[in-house]
């Protein structure tokens, strides 16, 4: 068990992510053997800085036979390779003991698709950048030599430009060509259609101009267009990879193992997916049930706060059903699986997540809407310019050149950059204040919310009980000597106050009753009123009694505390006009207390995961856009369904996967998150405004035939730079809600 001293220095030393003191899952089933080497991929949660890399890598490398250990901070993946018979669980434990969350990755899945896409975009971007710089070098000399340069020199420079541009367009442009083609086949159009068309036509016209010895070739503009567009594409892919990482965390969740007991009673650890209904299962103390099970033998206490939000542990009895997500606290339990892992509450919630995810994917991003307005406009104006000049009596060649320059200059460079640049800057700012955004469009959805639903346990409150009473130090010391031997939340709360210290001799835990041990030769008991044998009337479920020998028993009260910054946060949100509601699975009086203290008028207690989802649907049917804030397993469905959702860093991993953003550093992060999201939305709209204004100026210039390659190059880069600079303003905007 982790002592208090360890837990103080556990996790990321910067405090960017809270330490995770959960038990590591059994990972031996996930080791791959590659050429005599054992390899294991682990998803590490909570590693955020260089010191984390150092701690984790050196702890793993210090294990015997480990050859390499490398942590990728961007994806949170630790790759370990070793020889010999070192157990996978030793490695997992080494990382887990440092206070990081660990789960094994199933390498049968193709994990590197997203990474490969990002890398190929980066290479395409690099090639386009090289070509842009070199063609610009040649183009500048053509522009500078205007009127003085001989035709043959100009043709040679254009020729070299063309030779550079051709392979570049084939290589870097295939991203757009492929996407445009696949959309066209289905009879639709997206932004890649005008891009592909502009690039192809501009290149062909430039080639014919070069052969003719003409003055204007658009090789530079063509390649520069690709370069700018690829920057947008690359940033977009990078933001999306973050979302992918969290999807993989969800998959890692399912990679839990279960201890199955054979006919002869021998224990084997198997993947959760292999469990069949009726299998005998061993649930060790500290372990979290992965499948729903019915208890056959053993007496213990279980903590189902993750499932129901109920903060007081329950005592088990034979025949009791445990839902997946329940944590066993004190003694080993044996039971039978009621259903397969795929029928458990956990999978039910996973299905709710899927449903929510699908609904969310129908959300149309602002950028997509802007593009659908934009595409017809580009084509029409270019076509009109061409036809107009043709009818006005200009030669087909000149008219085509004007049409092409219109197509190039209106091509959506700034439009393509407007959204990704804003998202990257905003998520960078949030990252520095300890909030992790999972997808780019989460910002847009966050900004639109007008109603906030809070879970109680772990979100508005600490989630773990705290000692309320002032207790004499010597009594506290004695009680703590017993409490240190137990995993019960009340014992943990006592130890937290008392600090590290000795453990009484011969401590025994009686599930459902309490602890007994010897201190200074005197028998001491810590537990329920019935255990102590007191006749006091003040008996509540959230208190402990301590007795030493024949002395008068002393009562300890525990309560779940409201977070320090909760009141201030609720006040800020109320001032900003948000509707608020508390939705909890906990007892009625506990929920009412919290809601009243915080000044939230609407609250519902005893809500099952299904109830939460229903309430959310009700509100959304009324036209509210709901922001869900919650941390428990029972919130996961609601988190996935809400218009936007946020979860604290200490939340259950499934909840983190279901939500759009994960915050650390208290509830005060919430107003900050919303304010940055709103500002980002404003900046994004401004950027689209800039892009539109740019076109209002550029289109008349192009249609009137004044868009020379020089003008096109300046206009295109100026608009892209303007949009990027505007997005950077997000870094310095003051927070306001």
């Amino acid at each position: 068990m982790t002592s208090l001293n360890d837990s103080l220095s556990a996790g990321c030393p910067t405090g960017l992510a809270p330490p995770e003191l959960t038990n590591a899952p059994d990972s031996s089933a996930f080791v791959r053997r590659v050429g005599g080497q054992n390899r294991l991929g682990l998803t590490v949660r909570g590693a955020k800085c260089g010191a984390c890399i150092n701690r984790i890598e050196s702890a793993v490398k210090a294990l015997p036979d480990v050859e390499t250990a490398r942590l990728n901070l961007s994806t949170g993946t630790l790759d370990v390779a070793w020889r010999g018979d070192l157990g996978a669980n030793t490695i997992v434990q080494a990382v887990s003991a440092l206070g990081y969350g660990v789960s094994p990755q199933d390498q049968n899945r193709n994990v590197s698709d997203e990474q490969r896409e990002e890398r190929s975009l980066l290479v395409a971007l690099g090639v386009a950048g090289f070509a842009t710089a070199n063609i610009m070098l040649l183009s500048v000399s053509v522009w500078a030599g205007h009127g003085e340069m001989g035709e043959s020199t100009r043709r040679m420079l254009h020729g070299i430009s063309g030779l550079i541009a051709f392979p570049t367009i084939l290589f870097s442009g295939r991203v757009f060509f492929r996407s445009a083609w696949s959309v066209l086949k289905r009879g639709h159009a997206n932004m890649d259609v005008p891009i592909s068309l502009a690039v192809t036509i501009a290149f062909c016209v430039s080639v014919s101009e070069t052969l003719r010895g003409g003055e204007h070739a658009y090789f530079d503009a063509t390649v520069m267009l690709l370069f700018f567009l690829l920057i947008g594409r690359f940033l977009d892919a990078r933001v999306r990879r973050k979302a992918y990482v969290s999807a993989r965390e969800l998959a890692a969740m399912a990679n839990r193992t279960v201890t199955r007991l054979g006919e002869g009673g021998e224990a084997r650890s198997v993947r959760a997916s292999e469990i069949q209904p009726g299998d005998r299962i061993l649930l060790s103390p500290g372990e979290c049930a992965v499948v729903d099970m019915k208890i056959d033998s053993g007496l213990s206490e279980v903590d189902d706060s993750l499932v129901t939000g109920e903060s007081v542990p329950r005592t088990t009895f034979v025949g009791m059903s445990l839902l997946a997500g329940t944590v066993n606290l004190s003694q080993p339990l044996q039971g039978r699986a009621i259903g397969a892992a795929s029928d458990s509450l956990l999978s039910d919630i996973a299905r709710m997540l899927d449903a929510g995810e699908q609904r969310r994917s129908t959300y149309r991003k602002i950028a997509d809407r802007a593009v659908s307005l934009y595409v017809p406009f580009v084509h029409t104006s270019a076509l009109l310019a061409f036809l107009g000049w043709l009818m006005a009596g200009l030669g087909a060649n000149e008219a085509l050149l004007i049409g092409v320059s219109t197509l190039i200059i209106t091509c959506p460079c700034a439009l393509a950059l407007a959204a990704p640049v804003t998202q990257v800057v905003a998520s960078g700012r949030l990252f520095r204040s300890g909030t992790f955004l999972k997808s780019g469009d989460a910002l847009e959805r966050l900004a639109q919310c007008d109603y906030v639903i809070f879970d109680k346990t772990g979100t508005l409150t600490l989630g773990t009980p705290r000692l309320v009473d002032e207790i004499a130090p010597d009594v506290l010391d004695d009680a703590a000597q017993l409490a240190r031997a137990s995993r019960h939340p009340f014992s943990r709360a006592l130890v937290e106050i008392a600090g590290p210290g000795p453990i009484a001799s011969g401590v025994r835990e009686f599930p459902g009753l309490g602890l007994e041990g010897l201190i200074d030769g005197v028998t001491c008991r810590l537990g329920s009123a019935e255990w102590i044998g007191t006749d006091q009337s003040d008996i509540t479920s959230s208190s402990l009694w301590f007795s030493k020998g024949d002395e008068q028993p002393i009562q300890f009260h525990f309560a779940d505390h409201i977070l320090d910054d909760a009141i201030e946060t609720i006040r800020t949100l109320k001032r900003a006009g948000y509707g608020m509601e508390v939705l909890s699975g906990d007892r009625e009086e506990a929920v009412r207390d919290v809601a009243e203290t915080l000044g939230i008028a609407n609250w519902r207690a005893k809500s099952s995961p299904r109830d939460k989802v229903q309430r959310l649907e009700e509100l959304q049917a009324k036209g509210h856009r709901v922001l869900m804030v919650g941390d428990g397993l029972n919130d996961a469905g609601a988190l996935a369904l809400a218009h936007a959702s946020v979860t604290p860093g200490g939340a259950m991993d499934i909840s983190r996967s279901a939500s759009d953003a994960v915050y650390s550093g208290g509830l005060a992060s919430l107003p900050r998150l919303i304010s940055v999201a709103k500002q980002a939305r404003v900046v994004m709209l401004q950027n689209f405004g800039f892009a539109a204004a740019y076109n209002l100026v550029a289109v008349p210039i192009a249609i009137s035939g004044h868009a020379t390659p020089l003008v096109a190059a300046i206009a295109m880069s100026a608009s892209s730079i303007l949009v990027s600079l505007n997005a950077l303003r997000l870094n310095t905007m003051p927070e306001r809600l």
Binding site: N54, L71, N72, L73, R119, V127, F130, T153
Partner: protein, 59 residues
């Protein structure tokens, strides 16, 4: 004119060297973990050989 014939290949060649260096870096995975690379530079690698004690809890 003859100057151009020398200078343009030199300019392109230098650009090409840069491009090749970039492609090599991208292919060998140097851009796969930008967050980690930024902080790894601060990691202190001076440690006693062999790494006997766990001296990382105070860092």
């Amino acid at each position: 004119m003859s100057g151009l014939l020398i200078l343009i290949p030199i300019a392109l060649g230098m650009g090409l060297i840069g491009l090749i260096a970039f492609l090599w870096a991208a292919r060998s995975g140097q851009f796969d973990d930008p967050d980690g690379a930024a902080t790894r530079i601060l990691v202190d690698e001076d440690r006693p050989l062999p790494p006997s004690e766990n001296h990382d809890s105070e860092e």
